[in-house]
Amino acid sequence: MPVLYRASSGYLLRHPWQLGLALIGICIGVAVIVAVDLANDSSRKAFRLSMDTLNGAATHQLVGGPGGIDEGIYAELRRGGLRRAAPVVDGRGDVQGLSLNVLGIDPFAEREFRHYSLAGRDERSVIDDGARTARGMEAKALRQLLAEPGASLVSAQAARALRLGLGDAFEVRAGGQARNAFVAGLIDAGAVGQLLVVDIATAQDWFGLLGHLSRIDLRLSGDGQAKELRHRLPAGITLLAADARTQSMSQMSAAFMTNLTAMSLLALLVGIFLIYNSVGFAALQRRGLIGVLRALGLTRREVVGLVLLEAAGLGVVGAALGVGAGIWLGHGLLELVSRSINDLYFRLSVTDVSIGTLAVAKGALAGLLATVVAAAGPAWEASGYRPQLALRRSLLERRSGRMLPWLAAGGLASAGLSLVVLQLSGHSLLAGLVALFLMILGFALSIPLAVRFLAEQGARLAAAVGGIPARLAVGGIATSLSRTGIAIVALAVAVSATVGVSIMVQSFRGAVLEWLDETLRADLYVGVIDGSLDPGLVEDIARVPGVSEYSASRRVWLESEQGRTRMIVLKMAQRSYAGTRLLDADPDEAWPAFERDDAVLVSEPYAFRYGTRRGDLVTLETPTGRRDFRVAATFRSYDVNPGSLLISRSTYARYWDDPQIDSIGVYLADGADVAAVTDAIAALAAGRQSVELRSNRQLQALSLEIFDRTFVITDVLYWLAVGVALVGILGAMLALQLERARELAVLRALGVTPWQLGGMVTLQSGFIGLLSGLAALPLGLLMAWLLIEVINRRAFGWSMPVVVTPAALGSAVLLSVAAALAAGLYPAWRAARSRPALAMREE
């Protein structure tokens, strides 16, 4: 067989561009999958790692209500002989613009949970002999931590970023106030990165949690001890397994990540088309060779084996390149992903891409399989003819022409199946994605038939307008569908994705904008980053001339064994009510119930996720035990949290002991000067709290900025898909031109000028682009609908109207034509330069 291999590799080497394009196709497809997986995995892992580091060896955690857990409970447990327990008060602090985790601990309780290694002891403290100095420094660090307010162990990473050394004083903005701190020690904080460790007394003071703890970490010996402890706990205190708690916190971003994965699959799908295109084409190209081999007596299986082996070789190389490119791309994506997660969900510092073997294997395998499968069909088909027939091209076209209706029928079936899946799958996001892909597949299979029809019609039209060359160019598309079909489909799918995604984003953005407009009704918003407003300051602000009323809000998490629920506590101003749109209740009934009768409102995502309706009861963990609250209405919200509850301040005050206010919305009296009131509030706050003061316009702009940032990833991914499709068109056009070299030469011999020839190829490319673009529109619209009504709804519970603008559709067609023209430039140039004598002599 070595001769055969030489025939195979020789062919590929003589057609380097074909080899190159096939490799690029495989490479990009694999790279996108690997990159998205790596970015997702890395951010998930970074979150888990930092949670694990912060939780230390805790197996369980005791949590209280929104105001934390009474510190007396800890002392009681300890005196009762529970040894493996550590109190924690945590929060966020800001030092010179750098946001840090602040962990307030009791060093004596920590030994069972977390260890702190003082770093940098050699750098600044070598005075005497090493051992003694180290010991002295550590002793001093602990003594300072316990006895001196503001003493901090600073992670080496943070210290580097802030240029802080041992003993240096610095200012922390915590709980909205500037606090004095100093470096008592430098520690190695592992995955947490930016961390300040302070004594619990310091943390309580900084975060306004005097008398309370954020949580109590526990190391329990087993379920028995957990059960026994659960029995002894007072009402309002919940015992949670640390792992489960971390899990439910990381779950918050699960839908976001699933959507990213779906995006990467889309890129793979387009990639697979491309791989199929290049690899399959390489096989088709050698129908002559295959015919010769068969004539020489090779069996069909041997021929197919040869082609598959070649494809596998290509697949391996392409996948290897793809993995490399994917890791590189993953770094870039990770930054985008972690920024969005930071914007939307929780603080995350991802320092490096963790290269998971699973992600890499998945991507590489997908690429390899796609390659082999793509080559199998054409190889099987080509080797099936009687040897002398295989050399004739017209037969192939006829056969593939006959297949088009069958393909289209398959496509219709796939689309039908998609609808069935949608009907039967309830709220499952995964099933929604499956349906989406079935729908895309269905369309993709039907596109060639549509293209043939359009091209035939187009050829007639072209003949009328541009004469014979135009007719040849456009008609050629229909007669060489076995070459161009796949490229057209790839381009159409990529373009339809841009249509679908851009319509979805546009509709979403519009809905969010409207929602923000409606919700942000106050003229000014005053809040504190990672903290609560000073109650005295709130009262003073209410008395500023020009302020007519204010609304006050607090956002808390309620934790139970079932997971975490976001609750928004609102003291409404008269003008606030109109800002919350109720979806299923009469405001005149719902609001009084909300204010007076212990009723709560649920957000639309909450209602979707839990199937809650008006009139249902929701059970919440209160300091006095579990209580049922009636749902008065569902309200519209595009909050990213998987559902939140709205409760009135008065109801909240009846059950929870937590007077904190996170932010207020200030409503101005008619004719009041916004600037003057802003200045007055800023003056009031100066020296008391560092508050964030924003007008509703600013806040709206900020929200939209975050929104847009979130979709940057989406943009990146769909441009990659378009890129893949572009390479596909380029490959198809080159192949076509190569194959038709003689035909073109004949045309030249007949007197067609090089310019005309180039023009024909360009026209053909342009028409391919136009056909792809047109074919992409219905699929794009359907995708938009699926993304909005199925995917977004199942992932986040949001609903929004679909807004289709002509511009979105027009620009998609333009994109398609432009892409195809760009890809056709080089083939056109080559066609124009071809020397007819050479081409005709070849046989």
Binding site: F108, R111, S117, E138, A147, P149, I187, G190, I200, L210
Partner: protein
């Protein structure tokens, strides 16, 4: 004379500090590896003498029960109970329960948080199971805040979480109250009632116990030299009813060892002629005994006689090599010519070294010899520090 506190508190700290910011390794209860390999005790203690704490300069009369309670203005203080116990069937135990109090700073500044304090408590619980040949140790730390740990004078009570030493209410106000000691850890526990047989005796110069020639390098020190014990000890899940005799030391001050002091050997012996002897020997780095070494002899009717360095001779008869490193003297001949005492002292178990953050040896001993013409025997406790390097 248990300045071990200083060492302990310095090294807790080290224990906390040595590993990375992560969970402890499995089975890792005491950060033994944390003990720094080197260093002379005196350097460690001397290195951090903190100005601002009041010093023990003048003798002062002790007042009870007030002085059973804490003296938080001084840097360090301890309640130190040791004793020899007998259970049924010839089973014998030694116990040590010590609660140390330590001030991190001379003054306690007011702070909004209930957690802020300059008071730190450390507890050591040790049980010598003589017949089984086992020695068990447990250690605890806590800040003296939020009721987690603390000390009170009326009624006298000191505690560290669920480890408690408390004077029991007594009908007769003039009598020394009995003490109840309860402490429990995973493998060991004690619940003992200690009834004083003699009034407290002041050590040193009317209670001022000087540790070096430097003025102020001293502590206030009194002892309850003989308390009858009843109660129970628990080892590995089984409880044993016990009776026996205990010794309770109380000491507070702000000083540290002098630079040239290596460590000390402390003896507390209860003899069967109803007398008790306490003697501490401060060892200098040139191998000599510090002339400030001292002791107290308590007669059967409770009268205390101070002993100076020259009143006592100590001869080491044998030594013991710790598996952790370091060689301890382990058998002695102790002679006090002034009272005609000549005894041999040996441990009930060699391996009574507390391998906590700082290593020291503290264990039950037996005593036998003569006083004048009479044979005398007894039991006691010995503490040896500064040998572990």
């Amino acid at each position: 004379m248990k300045k071990i506190i200083l060492v302990i508190v310095f090294v807790i700290i080290t224990g906390l500090a040595v590993r990375g910011f992560r969970g402890p390794a499995p089975g890792d209860v005491e950060p033994v590896a944390a003990v720094p390999a080197s260093s002379r005790l005196s350097e460690l203690l001397g290195a951090d003498a903190d100005a601002g704490f009041p010093l023990a300069l003048e003798p002062r009369p002790f007042r009870f029960p007030a002085d059973h309670g804490p003296h938080p203005e001084f840097r360090n203080e301890w309640w130190y109970a040791t004793g020899n116990l007998d259970a049924d069937g010839g089973r014998r135990f030694g116990f040590e329960l010590t609660l140390f109090r330590f001030s991190l700073t001379p003054d306690a500044r007011p702070d909004p948080s209930a957690w802020r304090t300059n008071q730190v408590y450390v507890g050591h619980l040790a049980l010598t199971d003589v017949v089984a040949g086992e020695f068990h140790v447990a250690v605890r730390y806590s800040r003296g805040a939020l009721g987690l740990a603390g000390a009170e004078a009326a009624p006298p009570r000191v505690w560290l979480e669920d480890w408690v030493m408390a004077a029991l209410p007594d009908q007769d106000a003039d009598r020394e109250p009995p003490w109840r000691l309860t402490a429990r850890d995973e493998r060991l526990g004690i619940d003992l009632t200690l009834t004083p047989r003699k009034a407290p005796v002041a050590n040193g110069e009317d209670g001022l116990s000087r540790k070096s020639s430097e003025p102020g390098n001293a502590s206030y020190y009194y002892s309850l030299t003989r308390l009858a014990v009843t109660g129970a000890v628990e080892v590995d899940g089984s409880s044993h009813a016990v009776t026996g005799q205990a010794w309770l030391d109380r000491e507070w001050g702000s000083s540290a060892l002098a630079r040239n002091q290596l460590g000390w050997d402390w003896f507390a012996l209860q003899l069967d002629d109803e007398t008790e002897l306490m003697f501490y020997q401060l060892r200098l780095d040139d191998g000599a005994r510090d002339p400030m070494s001292a002791g107290t002899w308590v007669t059967s009717d409770g009268v205390a006689h101070a002993l100076g360095a020259d009143d006592v001779t100590l001869e080491v008869l044998d030594q013991w090599d710790s598996p952790q490193g370091g060689r301890y003297p382990i058998r002695w001949r102790l002679v006090v010519p002034g009272i005609g005492l000549d005894v041999r002292i040996w441990p009930v178990l060699d391996a009574q070294e507390l391998v906590t953050n700082v290593r020291y040896w503290e264990g039950a001993v037996d005593v036998e010899g003569t006083r004048g013409d009479n044979e005398v025997a007894g039991r006691g406790y010995v503490e040896l520090t500064g040998y572990a390097d």
